[in-house]
Symmetry: C2
Subunit: 166 residues, 2 copies
Amino acid sequence: MQTDRDVTPYIRLFGRYLRDLGLPVTQQREAVADVVFTSEGHRSVDEIEGELRERDERIGKATIYRTLDLLVRSRLVAERDFGEGFKRYEHRLSDHPVHEHLICLECGKVTEFESNELYRVENRVRQEHGFQPVRRRLEIYGLCKECHDAGVELPIEGLMCPIETV
Amino acid sequence: MQTDRDVTPYIRLFGRYLRDLGLPVTQQREAVADVVFTSEGHRSVDEIEGELRERDERIGKATIYRTLDLLVRSRLVAERDFGEGFKRYEHRLSDHPVHEHLICLECGKVTEFESNELYRVENRVRQEHGFQPVRRRLEIYGLCKECHDAGVELPIEGLMCPIETV
DNA sequence: GTCCATGCAAACCTTTTGCACTATA
DNA sequence: TATAGTGCAAAAGGTTTGCATGGAC
């Protein structure tokens, strides 16, 4: 049953992708896509499930995972992994479709930044290694401004001088 | 029972780290550390377990995980995640303790490279975001030289033009 | 009407934990 | 001898899969 839902341009793009592949455009797929497209940050599957529940959409976790897989394949959504033990998803239709991440080791905040230095890196590996870059991932872990201003100091764990072998 | 095992300088470093923390230096810890230190690539827990079995060391998986945790904390070993669904471990006592990774989407080969452009990136985020970098991670996914020379072409999946919304 | 998606629960896989026993220092 | 580690098996947590039912086209 095709209802008159609010189909945003982004969801329409996803619909086009599905149709190109001969796959059905279902309510559930549009609902999951809409949650991701209307979210601004990096959403976990749990968060997406919660948002769907708030919207009174009852969609199984398996369907959410299967739809996210399609969204990632369509390249409309990027899969992220900040080492939390689960993945996060972020749509790529923002002002800055290509960006990297700063991750605070103290509070977990994720900040986005752009780095055109990386184009130089990619050109170098193309020339020096004959490697054709397709996609990349740069994450810098450290202490964010707010935590630093709050006086947090990151403890230095580990050996002070790992090179000394005596 | 303290046997006369072949204790390399690297294992001695790990022993020092443990002693500094008042923790016992056990056979199992030395055995796991030795496998990691004598391995050149990026080892998974399964591979470490297999190597230990070949050496006739019977060590439980839990102990391997617990020892790897100590090795990572000591900063003698780096934890890697190439999106395979499990982690890999690499010792940091090579010629190039700091390096990034090129990962072939076709054959899975991992090549290491160095990028001093990243120091500039880190300085920039320090100035522009007040963020103090501690560690970083750069992975470039693409097609390696061998696969390209073998004629492999990466299929372009997804929408051709994700920006067009009509 | 055909084909595929959905939902539920079970399965899967890596990693973590509880607990009785053993080794280190 | 006190303290901490080990091994086993069970648990945990995220993700995937099998299968009967229901929806898209």
